[in-house]
């Protein structure tokens, strides 16, 4: 099953991403908080094939979530996206175990292509 753990603190975007990802064939568990996402992953570490997370979130941002997941020996690919003007550098991403980054705004085709690329 193509389960995706989606983390996005903007409620509108969370809803839209969930709908679009579901529409293109993925099963989505969505949450607005990095702590909740960690809990969901911890309940069943083998369930998710991909984690999609926003960068700018409170109290924990996407990089911190990724780092926490990697500390728990999570090997699931992590796709980070952000609307910020200062995206993380390659070395930042490597240090936090980020697989790929997407700059907002992106359309659903771009998201789909990136997901397929990350999942190989």
């Amino acid at each position: 099953m193509n389960n995706i753990l989606l983390v996005e603190d903007d409620p509108t975007l969370l809803k839209l991403f969930s709908e679009q990802l579901t529409r293109i064939g993925y099963a989505v568990d969505a949450c607005a908080d990095a702590g909740v996402a960690l809990g969901l992953w911890w309940q069943d570490p083998r369930k998710y094939r991909l984690v999609i997370t926003d960068l700018s979130m409170h109290p924990r941002n996407g990089l911190e979530l990724a780092k926490a997941l990697r500390r728990l020996e999570c090997e699931t690919p992590i796709l980070l996206h952000s609307a910020t003007g200062n995206p993380p550098t390659r070395s930042d991403m490597d240090a936090h175990g980020i697989t790929a980054f997407l700059q907002k705004p992106f359309d659903i085709d771009t998201l789909k292509r990136n997901i397929e690329m990350v999942l190989g």
């Binding site: 975007l13 609307a83 991403m93 980054f101 705004p105 992106f106």
Partner: protein
């Protein structure tokens, strides 16, 4: 050379110097004194020579020392004055630089605030564009005009992971 030897040498130098310098002077003075008897014992001449010579020599040495001290004091005062001038210049320069720094800090804070506002606006705009992109089938407008040159440069050179 030991200190005592140096002291002895100096003492003898003073006595000899006094004799060599003082004897002709004593003779010259004695010639001018008519009451001076011709059978004056030799040790009187010697004592007079030592007294005159020593006094003259000591006066010369004392004058030289006083002159040297005066010169040293003058030099020290000049040095002190130039040091004071340099210190005042440094203080003035430091004050001026401090004022410049304060101005730059104010300017930096203003620009930083402006930059933060700009970043927040861009973030909101991109989030809205993302919502629009998820809802619409139309292509996303080019937002490169909103990015600064550095960001565009980064993306072109692949520094940015995006």
């Amino acid at each position: 050379m030991a200190r005592t030897t140096r002291g002895k040498l100096l003492r003898w130098a003073l006595i000899l110097g006094g004799l060599l310098w003082g004897f002709p002077a004593t003779l010259a003075i004695a010639e001018g004194i008519p009451e001076m008897p011709s059978n004056t014992p030799w040790w009187v001449w010697l004592m007079l020579s030592i007294a005159f010579g020593g006094a003259t020599f000591l006066t010369a040495v004392s004058t030289a020392v006083r002159q040297a001290r005066k010169t040293a004091i003058q030099e020290w005062e000049n040095l002190h004055a130039s040091e004071k001038k340099a210190r005042l210049e440094c203080e003035e320069r430091a004050r001026s630089q401090s004022e410049q720094l304060a101005g730059l800090q104010t300017q930096f804070l203003r620009l930083q605030t402006k930059n933060q506002r700009y970043s927040i606006t861009i973030h909101r705009l991109r989030t809205l564009m993302q919502q629009w992109a998820m809802l619409s089938d139309k292509p996303i407008p080019d937002l490169s005009l909103l990015m600064d040159e550095e960001e565009i440069e980064q993306q072109h050179h692949g520094d940015s992971p995006a």
